[in-house]
């Protein structure tokens, strides 16, 4: 498959011009295209008026990543984790490797044997990774902060841009046009004196003749006091810590009857972590405050976005009054236009071209305190072709970064439905893509250790898969998917300890593996039951000998990436009562690059009992959670024990008036 890719490297220059040409062509011939798309858009709309204008929205970007695995987390699971952290949800439902420093502390995720900064985190389509670190601390993202969650496996640089090397996590908000008004109130009472409160409203209303409004206003505050009744578990200390989280979400969607829509999304979050709070000399505070604002205007398949993200990071030890401060702002703008080049019942060809411009401003003690600014531009073209059996995509993106020259990143994908019967479909998938990661601001600008002349990491991702759906009977449905991948990332940056931790493009990492998941649902009268199983084999290793001692590291499994991971979710529901068992297991995680030390494999099992009822006119959902049922001892990166068996009671009131 490397040979397939070869001509594109040779013809990189040509290709670059092609993209540029395409982009300028888009600008000059815009009027023409708008007219074209209008007619097709109109045709579509007329058939589905009742469903409102949702379907005239542009195709979700991930749908251009044909042949790649995507996992949508269903709303039932999201509701089950309404008081959970994203880390808990991911560890129990996906094979993603998690590196956890302790409750409420830094927790990062890695897809398919890559690292934390190879995971792009998108919120409503824009990358919200903290740009200094190039990653997201998932402990700061409660599930309550978003409405939708999907995981895009494998690299998707052509669609997402820098950093989507191992995979992407897609968080989203959605409009609810159905309900006029609803109130949601939630309260959690948990072990260790932890508690969480949520309150919000959703509303939808007509604004005059032509406009409709849908909105959500939501706030949460979470307090994790972590007052464990024990200080050690089997001689492993628990680390005392407290976390206070606050967040505010505001979504507003203004929809015109012609289909154009203007929306505003805002997510403010504040995460205040204190380690060893009782020791006034040694206590450490990490405060992360983020403001994320996004305005989107969609008309006739033209989408214009303007976003602003500010991340503040304050770290203090002992005395919290004079913390070391990092402040980073991004202004993001993006315009994209989708064209339906062909639309017949048997074939559909879509093209999307777009451009993005972001401006970064950062100031931190670590860079010497001066303001550092840079610009990043991306242009891209995404093409998707669908017939009855085939689904093909070809995408290309070129990024431009101040003082940088990221590679051009094409991707190709194909899906073919071998079997298309009423009760059974079998689809084969395949894709190949180039990916890259622009080094983080820290990697480039950190005084002395950083290197402004670093090269971007670049890689090639290939994957093939088979997906089957079977409806065995009216009551029994089975889905299953098997994927194999190979991802080779070169110029992998490394803070080289042999050179006093100066960062270098030293390593070559090859990740390959298999993912298997299957789900079985059975429904009978008032009974529902189901099981979802996932297994992943991940083999990821550093392959370059760059000095004498790298011999000991070559070919070894990357630290904190278990070779085997498995998840199992089973549930049984009768009427409005549902019992779920959520389990996660992983094999040993090596804690050093030469695999000389490791943390043992472990299994975590949680139980969840839910019941929905009514108190008078008010619908109430009660959840009882029992986490770490078997009291397994799991240690984090710092070799501190994570808490043993614990539980929570959650009360959720969701009162709505349906129009």
């Amino acid at each position: 498959m490397h040979k397939l890719f070869y001509p594109f490297i040779v013809k990189k220059q040509t290709l670059r011009w092609w993209v540029l040409g395409l982009f300028s062509g888009f600008i000059s011939s815009q009027d023409n295209c708008v007219a074209q798309a209008d007619s097709s858009g109109q045709a579509k709309k007329s058939s589905i008026v009742s469903l409102s204008a949702v379907t005239v929205r542009a195709i979700a970007p991930e749908r251009f990543l044909v042949g790649q695995k995507i996992q949508h987390i269903d709303s039932v699971t999201l509701r089950q984790f309404q008081f959970g952290s994203l880390i808990d949800l991911l560890s129990l439902n996906t094979p993603i490797a998690i590196k956890n420093y302790g409750p409420g502390q830094l927790a990062t995720v890695a897809f398919r044997g890559t690292s934390a900064n190879h995971t792009a985190v998108l919120w409503n389509g824009i990358n919200i990774n903290q740009p200094n670190l190039g990653l997201t601390d998932f402990s700061t993202l409660p599930v309550a902060g978003f409405d939708q969650l999907a995981l895009q496996y494998g690299s998707s640089a052509s669609v997402v841009g820098s950093g989507a090397v191992g995979g992407s996590i897609l968080l989203g908000s959605n409009a609810d046009w159905q309900r006029k008004f609803s109130v949601i109130l939630g309260q959690q009472f948990a072990s260790f004196h932890n508690n969480q409160t949520q309150a919000g409203v959703r509303y939808a209303t007509a604004l005059g003749q032509n406009w409709k409004l849908s909105g959500k206003t939501f706030a949460y505050r979470n307090k994790f006091n972590n007052r464990y009744p024990y200080t050690e578990r089997q001689r492993y200390f628990l680390e005392p810590s407290t976390t206070a989280q606050r967040g505010f979400v505001q979504d507003l969607y203004f929809l015109h009857k012609s289909g154009k829509q203007f929306s505003v999304n805002a997510w403010l979050s504040d995460n205040d972590l204190i380690i060893t709070p009782l020791d006034t000399i040694a206590r450490e505070r990490t405060r992360t405050q983020s403001a994320r604002l996004l305005a989107t205007y969609e008309v006739n398949r033209l989408t214009v976005r303007l976003g602003w993200i500010r991340d503040l990071l304050d770290y203090g030890k002992g005395n919290f009054d004079t913390p070391s401060h990092t402040e980073t702002e991004r202004l993001i703008s993006r315009a994209e236009r989708e064209f339906t080049l062909a639309s017949t019942p048997s074939r559909q060809l879509n093209l999307r071209v777009g451009g993005e411009w972001s401006h970064y401003r950062t100031r931190t003690d670590g860079y010497g305190g001066q303001l550092i600014q840079e610009d990043r531009e991306d242009i891209y073209a995404l093409m998707r072709f669908q017939t009855a059996r085939w689904l093909l995509s070809a995408n290309i993106r070129q990024a431009f970064v101040t003082r940088f020259n990221p590679p051009i990143t094409p991707s190709f994908g194909a899906e073919y439905q071998f079997i298309q019967r009423n009760h059974f479909t079998l689809t084969a998938k395949g894709s190949i893509s180039r990916n890259y990661r622009v080094p983080t601001l820290n990697e480039r600008y950190w005084i002395e250790l950083g290197d402004p002349n670093l090269k971007p990491e670049s890689g090639v991702n290939m994957e093939i898969g088979l997906a089957a759906k079977a409806t065995v009977s009216d009551n029994l449905a089975l889905t299953t998917e098997l994927t194999a991948y190979h991802n080779r990332v070169d110029n992998w940056t490394y803070w080289n300890p042999a050179k006093a931790y100066h960062v270098e493009n030293l390593q070559l990492v090859v990740a390959r593996g298999l993912e298997f998941n299957t789900g079985l649902n059975y429904t009978q009268n008032r009974w529902q039951t189901g099981i979802r199983l996932g297994y992943a084999y991940t083999r990821s290793s550093q392959e370059r000998v760059y000095d004498n001692y790298a011999q000991d590291v070559v070919g070894k499994q990357l630290p904190y990436v278990p070779i085997h991971t498995g998840t199992a979710n089973a549930w049984l529901q009768r009427g409005k009562t549902r019992l779920s068992v959520q389990a996660q297991a992983n094999s040993r995680r090596y804690s050093t690059a030469d695999n000389s030390q490791f943390l043992k494999g472990n299994t975590l099992v949680n139980l969840l009992l839910e019941h929905s009822t009514k108190l008078g006119p008010v619908p109430v959902r009660v959840q009882g959670n029992l986490n770490n049922l078997f009291n397994a001892l799991v240690v984090g990166v710092k070799q501190n024990a994570l808490p043993g068996r614990n539980g929570s009671i959650n009360l959720i009131v969701n009162f709505s008036s349906v129009n």
């Binding site: 298997f516 085997h564 030469d594 030390q597 943390l599 494999g601």
Partner: protein, 358 residues
């Protein structure tokens, strides 16, 4: 790859159900006559350990505390629970100094010498940031402790003063904390007195003298530069590193007898087997100077230095040097004959930073 993947997947599915049943039952290993390597471990990973190298071969036993006490490392890792700072033995007991990255989690593990069976664990607040340990009496050890450390840039990193924990090995407890100096670190026992200095970065210039009979402060000597007592030589004179200087003092009169000023502060220093010379690393070389030297001109022993520690085995006079390639992989101990010829190189554990010859 495909076959391998299939096989692995099958194995993986089986492993899903059984991997938690895996247990390892290492046989008890005697850690008698040999050399212990103190592997500090990586910052924040709390994964220090002790390795054991025999004098007669190149075999290494790693993580010997866990080997001797398998039940104490139920969840993998080094099982030591912190960075290992120092080790010494007092009257048949070994003391392992374990420094965790988090306040309140430091320990001194007291083990049975030779078998490494755990006997007692000393914890916070008795032990906080333990640095070094020496024998201070027939059944007594002194552990220098920085105490809780704060923010380096705010000047609260070294608590003033640090303390010396007096460990009574009969009871396996800390019997007393002697207030010492800021950043208290190196200690040398001379008769019934202990000379105490501090970490070069602490800025404290006091040489503290403690009466080891009463465990009380006897004298504070202003030293002009931060004193780091190294060892007592064959003539009973105390050598102290003070910045670029190696200073020889008469421990009875407390008077400076000799001062050797080097180009820069010496790296790791080890006393020779006969206690008539000091070995040190400086400028990429390993050299030695005599205790009778009058000028700071050492004799080169090896044309290299060591990123870890340097030690001279008092029994064999062999030179031990350790290399720390990174803090994310095992380091090496390289052994040389007294004439500088290479014996072997053995892989140990994370960040080998000290030796204990027994």
């Amino acid at each position: 790859m495909n076959n391998q993947l299939k096989k692995s997947m099958a194995i993986g599915l089986v492993a899903l159900s059984v991997w938690n049943c895996k247990t390892s039952d290492p046989e008890p290993t005697p850690f008698g006559d040999g050399v212990y390597v103190i592997n500090q471990g990586a910052f924040l990973k709390n994964n220090g350990s002790l390795s054991y190298i025999s004098r007669t071969g190149s075999t290494v036993a790693t993580n010997i505390f866990v080997q001797a006490n398998p039940t104490l490392a139920v969840s993998g890792g080094s099982g030591q629970g912190g960075n290992v700072q120092d080790y010494t033995e007092v009257n048949g007991k070994g003391l392992i100094l374990v420094d965790n990255g988090t306040v309140g989690q430091d320990k001194v593990e007291v083990v049975e010498a030779g078998t490494f069976m755990s006997r007692a664990t000393l914890k916070a607040p008795d032990i906080e940031n333990p640095r070094l340990v020496i024998q201070a009496g027939p059944n007594k050890a002194y552990v220098s402790c920085w105490d809780v450390s704060g923010d380096y840039s705010a000047g609260t990193f070294y608590k003033d003063p640090g303390y010396i924990a007096v460990v009574d090995l009969n009871t396996g407890t800390v019997s007393k904390k002697i207030p010492a100096v800021k950043g208290v670190e190196r200690m040398v026992l001379v008769g019934s007195e202990v000379f105490v200095g501090s970490n070069a970065y602490s800025g404290d210039k006091t040489l503290l003298v403690i009466d080891a009979n009463t465990d009380t402060m006897k004298e504070k000597i202003n030293f002009g530069a931060t004193p780091e007592p190294i060892a007592l030589d064959a003539n009973g004179k105390l050598w102290i590193r003070a910045g670029k200087d190696m200073v020889r003092i008469n421990p009875q009169s407390r008077l400076v007898e000799q001062r050797l000023t080097f180009a820069s502060s010496l790296g790791t220093i080890a006393i020779g087997a006969d206690k008539r010379a000091f070995y040190y690393t400086l400028g990429g070389r390993t050299s030695q100077f005599s205790i009778e030297a009058t000028t700071a001109t050492g004799t080169q022993v090896l044309n290299r230095s060591f990123s870890g520690a340097l030690g001279i085995d008092p029994k064999t006079k062999q030179l031990y040097g350790s290399v720390i390639p990174t803090y994310d992989q095992a380091g090496y101990v390289i052994r040389y004959q007294p004439d500088g010829s290479l014996i072997d190189s053995v892989k140990v554990e994370i960040a080998p930073s000290g030796f204990f010859f027994r």
